[in-house]
Symmetry: C2
Subunit: 342 residues, 2 copies
DNA sequence: ACAATCCATGGGAGCGCTCCCAAGGGCGTT
DNA sequence: AACGCCCTTGGGAGCGCTCCCATGGATTGT
């Protein structure tokens, strides 16, 4: 059976070398696009590769180079968010696009409980990827620290705090939020509340800071009763809106730190019979598809989500190629997209 | 530097064997949970593994076993759909959940253009995964045929046609559609149009068939003017609704083959001042989050998307373990979720 | 024309693991 | 007491590739 097995087996470098009448080294050089191969040899090898339909065995390559040619995208989020947030899809698309002209592959790892976390840790320790992209970081998330310790190339989307040491990409959350609030204030709204994101995340803090900054520019110190933090979910946004309205019936505008939360707020406003935007103006953040679907369509701060996916990928590939280099970071601009809620 | 390098390098099986005072074979047996190891040897090996923090090198293992311990989830869709369809996220969650107590990893591969397709083909030919999950199959998609030819374990979500030879999982599209239309007809609606899915996909056909079946049960042969196919996008749904209304102003109900298309239809109805559900009732399909967000909230046929993700994964793992066995297939039930559009 | 270079080339060594077989030790049987 | 069996064990061979070095031929300079 040995010869039959051998026939069924995929061709190896060796087989190509024999057929092309050259040595293994030469084939390897051709396959990897390395210099130092004569035109004649290259042609012969290429013909042999085509004839045998040769494809290199990645495991064998990986064993000696100790590269895996793949990166992991880690999404540490509860069920609900991945379901709701078009944000993640956009990032995935960006990553995939940037990877398209690479030989790198994308591993998707959802971390929703301890079991999945352990699995990820084992995985990274086995160095089954060359680098890690981590989306949605919480202030005290143990994961970034773990990755840092392991010294595996890592790029975060977002950051734990303003002085994040790891490479990361984030959008100009402070600026974007200020943009939104400035817009509201500039149109005569006087009592602008905010549904903040989780305050254990830098996005939460930064968007809240933007809200504060815009007020400060006008010399006003907004009251704490105008702030209600929520958890980026729709139900959370709705509850926050309810709380805000109960506390401050005089609210005439709301800046929500995400579209999904804004959608929840809109539901609450509708329920209470408050007209949007006449009585209460609303602005969201993310400019996701939900913003186009609310009634009325939601004015929102747009961040280039897909571009963020591309950016983190680029930075990660850089870092993989030069792990000793400095950490990379990038802030992407935000813009205001006006629709009907303002 | 050789000794320094050696020190920095991760521990190998050999190192564990030395420390435990046993042979490589014994360590390998312990690591892989194989029988034929004495309790004493097992204990010694486990201690050594813990002390060295040993993690097996997957590339070395893969080289000899020619398994990769990973599967690919292939999503061959245009930008727009991945963005819009919560469907994909749900499937991903299901897959990930099912994989959680496995050592298998998930590779996500988006195939949006020829370049990405070529890349996928190379990838599968290099056998960089043990199996493939393919979502969203079109009738003449070359991919299933390619996978079949390559003889790599494959499970489809959906099917090319009712006699799909490859393993697959799909929901009861015919039954679900019939459920919806029966509901409409049962409530006194007389002119039930349908916005069909792409007719080059089995889902498109099957849901259309369900619409026909429910009419047939009542002995009516619905007119072709009540059918408008679209492409599962919101804009497509809206255009189809427009067309339908222009053709048949007497329509008093619409069954859309997806929630996203139903959302488009609602927009068009609102624009025309037609009240939902009073003048026109609407039912969607998928019961995705968009169904909860339309105004009014959309009645929809629910399919267990996350369960589909789990199911395809189970079937794929089966098929990987027993590639010679018969092809697997599974039909999952659908239910009607009533909201405010009926 | 001869030496000094340079470039293309072949192939040995080795990456870390699994597979498998031969060997050793303990036990039961007659 | 001698033999046979079974279970545990160690380690050689080999998976397919890259890395690197020694070799030989062609090229250039004087």
């Amino acid at each position: 059976m040995s010869s039959a097995e051998r026939a069924a087996r995929r061709p190896t470098l060796e087989a190509v070398a024999r057929l092309a009448g050259v040595g293994r080294g030469t084939v390897s050089r051709v396959v990897n696009g390395l210099p130092g191969v004569s035109a004649k040899a290259r042609t012969a090898v290429e013909a042999a590769i085509a004839e045998l339909n040769y494809v290199p065995n990645p495991a064998a390559r990986s064993l000696v180079t100790s590269r895996t040619d793949s990166i992991a995208l880690v999404i540490p989020e509860s069920e609900s968010r991945l379901a709701t947030e078009p944000y993640f899809s956009a990032v995935i698309r960006g990553v995939s696009t940037e990877l398209a002209d690479t030989e790198m592959q994308l591993l998707l790892i959802l971390v929703r409980d301890q079991r999945e976390l352990d699995r990820l840790i084992r995985f990274v320790e086995a160095r089954r990827v060359d680098g890690v992209l981590l989306v949605s970081v919480h202030r005290d998330d143990p994961l970034p620290a773990f990755l840092e310790k392991t010294r595996i190339p890592t790029v975060l989307v977002g950051r734990r705090s303003p002085d994040e040491p790891l490479s990361h990409v984030h959008s100009d959350n402070v600026g974007g939020a200020a943009l939104a609030v400035r817009h509201l204030l500039g149109r005569g709204r006087t009592t602008v509340a905010t549904i903040a994101g989780p305050l254990d995340m830098d996005v939460g803090h930064s968007r809240l800071k933007g809200w504060r900054d815009a007020h400060a520019e006008r010399g006003v110190e907004p009251d704490g009763s105008l702030i209600a933090p929520a958890d980026f979910t729709e139900e959370g946004g709705r509850a926050a809106m309810r709380e805000l309205l109960d506390r401050r019936p005089d609210i005439d505008a709301v800046f929500a730190a995400s579209d999904v939360m804004a959608a929840g707020a809109l539901t609450e406003l509708r329920e209470r019979g408050l007209r949007v935007p006449e009585e209460v103006a609303v602005i969201g953040f993310d400019d996701s598809i939900v913003a186009r679907h609310t009634v009325p369509p939601l004015t929102s701060v747009s961040q280039p989500t897909e571009e963020m996916g591309r950016a983190i990928t680029r930075l990660l590939l850089d870092e993989i190629n030069d792990p000793a280099g400095p950490r990379r970071q990038l802030t992407l601009p935000t813009t205001l997209v006006e629709r009907r809620t303002t």
